[in-house]
Subunit: 97 residues, 2 copies
Amino acid sequence: MSITHLQSFVAVAEEGHVGRAALRLHITQPPLSRHILALEDELGTPLFERVPKGMRLLPTGEALLHHARRILAEVDVATRTVREAAQGSGAASKPPA
Amino acid sequence: MSITHLQSFVAVAEEGHVGRAALRLHITQPPLSRHILALEDELGTPLFERVPKGMRLLPTGEALLHHARRILAEVDVATRTVREAAQGSGAASKPPA
DNA sequence: ACGTCCAATGCTGTTCCGGCATGACGCGGC
DNA sequence: GCCGCGTCATGCCGGAACAGCATTGGACGT
């Protein structure tokens, strides 16, 4: 389970469509499809129902979506917080000279 | 920024020592050292002060540690929650036959 | 029955990554 | 002052992981 896989999962969940999610993530469809399969394999359960129109979220997928968004948001907050702390302390990237 | 890197970071932060953290993570010291360097590079600021005894957490590092623990805990919860939801719904891994 | 649209798979070149050996640096003992 | 020890960092290499291309397999609509 990697952050990249979670980003892929959220994109597919929101688009309901692997190809469209791939465009959004600036990758191609096959690796994105594999990301989802890898997640499903790791968790031991399918996350989407494959329907003719694309991918429909299963209950397990909805459960994951909730946590995945939280995780991604937390990663974002962590990044910003550390960068702010770095600026506040006079960091390596921004020596006030 | 990957989950593996965050695990590495937390281990080093808690041990204050790359070599010992490496033992705990069952990897060797060089890749672990590189994980920390990669994080510092990505965030644009050092996270540890290198002291003769090992690695001392900087304020930026403490800020990250807080969020890193939260993220890792959330990943754990996500994994368990989905697996439980899968069992509750009659999942692929456990067909009741 | 055929064409269309979708995800999944086979394959290949590249990139990433871990481990081994070694280097660079600082400290302490002598 | 010199040497030895302990620490993290770096050069290198072999294997695994990954993205993209081309293609397949399957389902629906017409």
